[in-house]
Symmetry: C2
Subunit: 301 residues, 2 copies
Amino acid sequence: MPNEPVTDLNGLTEEQFLKTYNAGSYERPSVTVDMLIFTVMEQEQDNYRKLPAKSLQLLLIQRGGHPFLGQWALPGGFVAVDESIEDAARRELFSETNIDNIYMEQLYTWGDVQRDPRMRVISCSYMALVDRKTLDVQAGDDAAAAAWFEVSHRMVETSRSEQEQGIRQETLVEITLQNELTKLSGVVKLTETVHGPVRRVHREIVQSDGFAFDHLLMVQYAIERLRGKAEYTDIVFNLMPPLFTLSELQRVYEIILGKDLLPAAFRRKIADRVVETEESTRDAGHRPSKLYRYNLGWDLT
Amino acid sequence: MPNEPVTDLNGLTEEQFLKTYNAGSYERPSVTVDMLIFTVMEQEQDNYRKLPAKSLQLLLIQRGGHPFLGQWALPGGFVAVDESIEDAARRELFSETNIDNIYMEQLYTWGDVQRDPRMRVISCSYMALVDRKTLDVQAGDDAAAAAWFEVSHRMVETSRSEQEQGIRQETLVEITLQNELTKLSGVVKLTETVHGPVRRVHREIVQSDGFAFDHLLMVQYAIERLRGKAEYTDIVFNLMPPLFTLSELQRVYEIILGKDLLPAAFRRKIADRVVETEESTRDAGHRPSKLYRYNLGWDLT
DNA sequence: TCAATAGTGTCTATTAGACAGTATACC
DNA sequence: GGTATACTGTCTAATAGACACTATTGA
């Protein structure tokens, strides 16, 4: 006994409605994805004894056309109408790295009206984390002017003012991206207003040298998120190779958190996220170190 | 001494390029915002001594046309081409609540191809938190079929399987929204896969009774985020009136976190986020309670 | 007086921070 | 042997959990 189908004010059933539906021709924004692909690289060491220094790296692409010709931008592209946003992001990610199964998460959707001088473009940003060793197997590849840049950032100034309605705090964050050939830098102003319990953060580019679009904001946001998540998730392990020493792991945490950690406390804390293997490092100018791997599902029931 | 302007392969400067730029006429998705507006309400109490019970509430709107005619959906609307996403969200928020300066944060952007049966629609979801007392001043207003629903959710089943490549864990979350007139319920399946350190979460509606579109997923996601943020931010204070007792505050935390807290420990923890006032409650059938207000900028330098 | 909530003191368990001290390969 | 890193033991400080206890109002 079939139900009577629901009809709307025009007496149409849902099926009839959809058949005759006309999407209209009003103006729509374009939608893109922008990828923040991070990895950790080791620098060469002169002293055979010392461990190689590590640094956080970000993949950028040099623009070959207007606007922002010659400047550096995040890899990305348009989302097709018959493709989900996540699929578009994975497509871009794969085309840059040639690897599958990379950690990726949606970060934020940037929707200011004037963020692209050509037309209205809304951009959904994704952060991806890759282990450099896996990446080495097959990298470089196509993407003409893609390059890795060492990421560094620091707070250069903070000012605070109390107003009738609340508090306003401004922080300037200087972000530098550099490699052997190029050095890019810019400053993002974070304005935090507290009005009652309502906190609002506003980001603004106050100085930018070589960055296309609003991508500097995305970089700042991504670093902030990476830092935050490093403290309460296992996100950092996505930057590690399958086998690693606890010192290496600690270095990566230190780079991301921007502070030194005490070995004893660090080891205690990550003890159950990690499994010791039989293998160890060799040929270092010092005591060898046990290699560990990530403990799959340590936190699941 | 002006720099030589950069020209592209066609010999155009950026200015010339933008003047002649043609956005093309390929198909674009529509972009909407969907608002998750939460508040906390008090139920009437029969026993004059007892404190009124509180519950988390979400604002929904009953659809007056196809598709999903008669079902309930999150308030929302299209983002105009000359309006930022955030402006669109604030516009929607204001049109539902008639108040300004409400806490609002971007949650997630939903981009599956088939999420709207009419056409390709990408939706950016925002969560807003309002104190019910402020809201009472002027609410109800226009929005024909808007109504508050009590939100409850519980895990109904968890299963776990180990595969060659990693671990897969499925959790069913039952979400119920109800008020005096209507009871909606649905089940969301969360699939968490761990493959190496790469964790991925997939959400899927497995049963839905009265919810339009994929809005049940948004509700589940928002609850998860609210819970998470309650633990490490002051987000909860956005649900409180300007003056509140510590017991009231504790109840709201308990509702959101889904567990009971010990008064002594709770008071210690929030002690410096809060300022005692001269006022206290009266006419309760028991010892009166000091009223507190949020301590603006307690964490800023 | 008593029901119901408000609020405090204190013991214990757990976790984080600090730092000294031992261990070990390789040139 | 000396250098640079690997790793552990233990004291202390800070924080969270548990729970008993006292305080205060209005019907």
